[in-house]
């Protein structure tokens, strides 16, 4: 019995450690005070108002959506195409190519940031949306490759061969058979790509100019320079988006499970 209690206490405390910080920040989004501390004197929506009206925050939100959308499109198209190509076992250096596709997840962001700044600076792409989208795509694309490859691995190749033997062209096979079957993987890859772009700070710090400040970048400098409950409001926004994203992924998984 004491063993069981110890286990229960340990698990509960660890869950508290994992989840409590995320919950603790949420109510502060609705404080009327200018400082980020408990107890909350009274409730107010002033910090959400600040978030959507103050120039710096509003632009940051808009920028995050522009850059996030661009990154999602680019990463999903490149990653899905590459995952389809990787299915072919006859490709030379298949393992090496796959490792290269996943490596951006491993290389420290600061190291990549220095290289990006040097290189994109040479092309005149620093301080531009294109530069930031390219940088974000590099770190977002591995998530698409992993997710789409997983979905493709679950497809029965005989279905595609059947379509082919019935006279469908490769494009028709892809459009009518492969893509619909891989769709949940493509969708969750896209969602992960968007989430990666939304949360990316370090590369943005190196590559973006003042006009491309993203929400994450704005939060970073705000915590560093003048912390205010606007941070909590932004965090609330982030967590809400995360929960919605999570639901989308769960739903797409359910969809995938139901298909089988």
């Amino acid at each position: 019995m004491p063993m069981k209690f110890t286990k229960f206490a340990f698990a509960s405390l660890t869950i508290l450690f994992l989840v409590a910080p995320l919950i603790a920040i949420l109510p502060l989004a609705f404080t009327s005070s200018v400082i980020l501390t408990y107890p909350i004197p009274s409730w107010s929506l002033r910090w959400f108002e600040e978030l959507f009206t103050a120039d710096a925050w509003r632009r940051a939100i808009v920028n995050s959506f522009i850059i996030g959308t661009g990154t999602t499109l680019l990463a999903t198209v490149l990653g899905t195409a590459a995952s389809l190509g990787l299915r072919n076992r006859l490709i030379f250096f298949r393992g090496t190519i796959r490792t290269l596709f996943l490596l951006p997840m491993v290389v420290p962001a600061v190291v990549l940031g220095v290289g990006m700044q040097v290189l994109l600076g040479g092309f005149g792409l620093t301080n531009s949306y294109a530069g930031v989208i390219i940088a974000h795509t590099v770190v977002a694309v591995p998530f698409v490759v992993v997710s789409v490859s997983g979905a493709l691995a679950g497809i029965d190749r005989r279905v595609e061969l059947a379509a082919e033997s019935l006279g469908a062209s490769p494009i028709t096979v892809f459009r009518r058979v492969t893509l619909p079957l891989a769709m949940p993987g493509v969708l969750s890859g896209a969602v992960l790509a968007f989430a990666t772009s939304l949360d990316e700070v370090v590369l943005t710090l190196f590559v973006a100019g003042p006009n491309q400040r993203t929400l994450a970048r704005q939060m970073f400098s705000s915590i560093r320079e003048n912390i205010s409950p606007a941070i909590a409001a932004a965090a609330f926004l982030f967590i809400t988006v995360t929960v919605v994203i999570g639901l989308i992924v769960i739903l797409s998984n359910v969809m995938r499970a139901r298909r089988r």
Partner: protein, 392 residues
């Protein structure tokens, strides 16, 4: 089979865009960072004429008139103040005194009313070989200076590699600190994550879902949100200090933020899922009846754990630890926001050199050190997980 080649061709066509994209925007940036760390053109690109004349010099005698004339021509041709500043900084780091000497020389050369005949007439120091030696050595386009400095080494006057004096040996301290903090975080994650994964794997139904959900939720949450949350909890009037004071456990607020304690706590929170998930995925493949079998044969629970569960799950612990350690050594955001000046890790120093002082050479050199450490550890991790995949 005509379908074979055309199918391969199609696959290559599908692979090509991402391959080209990553070679261009991932591999190439890493190479340009590496080449920055060994390139040293601040002096060479401003002094092309001197670069032609100086190799003929015997490196000991006073400067010849040809050398002086070439350098004067070069300096008169400089019209980029920033490039001039870079060159002076580079020369001054090789030999102090260049800063004053150069500003005196350039203003004398600007005086078109009575142009100086040679450099020695502007300043006596131009007659001494040491200063010319510094220029001659700085004219090589490649240098190992930054890479050596990244690990606290340097070349002395005769060109031998030796340790830098203690007051310049900051990078070694920061590297050690980076590995130390990453190690502490890894140990903390293992101490919490291993038992947690064992408990989760032993449960079933909603209890297991809750335990896994608690791990996945932070993983899904933005890193900045989590860091901001720890900022709120750890600050002087934060929830942790308030709670401890209300309970009467402490009299005044504990210093939890802008120090090592805060960094370790926040990083452990951020990286704990990377420890729990690999261990958990190994544990669920272990047959559930092994531990009861050991117990029924009379093994004490601790003995059963040491002889059965630990050896079987060690691989998961190793994968998780490597994953946490690899992520931790590259961390930038959490130490930058939660840590004090004494808790900055190698990434912060790289960012400082790159953004703060535009010293690409040093940023690149430290980046190379971090990149090599990361890739070495990752290759061990990849080998571990490949063996894992082979076993099942």
């Amino acid at each position: 089979m005509s379908a074979g080649p055309s199918r391969t061709g199609r696959s290559l066509l599908l692979l090509a865009p991402l391959l080209i994209f990553l070679v261009g925007f991932f591999v190439w940036p890493l190479f340009s960072m590496m080449s920055q760390s060994v390139s040293d053109t601040a002096v060479l690109r401003l002094l092309p004429r001197s670069a032609e004349v100086l190799p003929d010099w015997d490196r000991a005698s006073p400067p010849t008139p040809a050398m002086q004339a070439a350098l004067m021509e070069d300096l008169k041709a400089v019209d980029d103040d920033q490039a001039l500043g870079d060159m002076v900084r580079r020369l001054n780091s090789a030999r102090s005194g260049f800063r004053t000497l150069m500003s005196k020389t350039t203003s004398a050369l600007d005086d078109t009313a009575n142009p100086p005949v040679d450099l020695v007439s502007i300043d006596d120091r131009w007659g001494r070989p040491e200063f010319w030696l510094a220029i001659a050595d700085a004219l090589s386009p490649l240098t190992d200076r930054n890479l050596l400095a990244a690990v606290d080494l340097g070349r002395n006057a005769s060109g031998d590699i030796e340790h830098l004096p203690a007051e310049q040996s900051v990078n070694g301290v920061i590297l050690l600190r980076t590995f130390w903090i990453a190690g502490l975080v890894t140990i903390a994650c293992a101490c919490i994550g291993y038992p947690y994964a064992i408990i989760a794997a032993s449960l079933s139904g909603w209890k297991r879902d809750v335990m896994l959900g608690a791990v996945l939720l932070p993983l899904w949450t933005s890193l900045l949100v989590r860091t901001a949350a720890w900022f709120i909890l750890l600050q002087e009037q934060g929830l942790i200090n308030d709670a401890l004071q209300t309970l009467g456990l402490i009299d005044g607020p504990l210093p939890l933020i802008f120090n090592r304690t805060g960094v370790i706590i926040a990083m452990t929170h951020v990286l704990l899922p990377f420890m729990v998930l690999p261990i958990y995925s190994v544990l669920i493949t272990i047959p559930k009846n092994l531990m009861p079998a050991a117990a029924s044969l009379g093994a004490h629970p601790i003995r059963a754990f040491l002889r059965v569960l630990l050896p079987l799950s060690l691989r998961g612990v190793a994968s998780g630890s490597l994953l946490v350690f690899i992520s931790a050594i590259g961390y930038y955001i959490t130490p930058a926001l939660i840590g004090g000046p004494g808790d900055q890790m190698i990434s912060s120093i790289i960012a400082f050199y790159a953004i703060g002082s535009a010293n690409w050479g040093m940023a690149g050199a430290l980046g190379v050190v971090l990149l090599i450490a990361t890739l070495l550890l990752y290759s061990v991790y990849a080998r571990l997980s490949a063996e894992e995949a082979e076993r099942y």
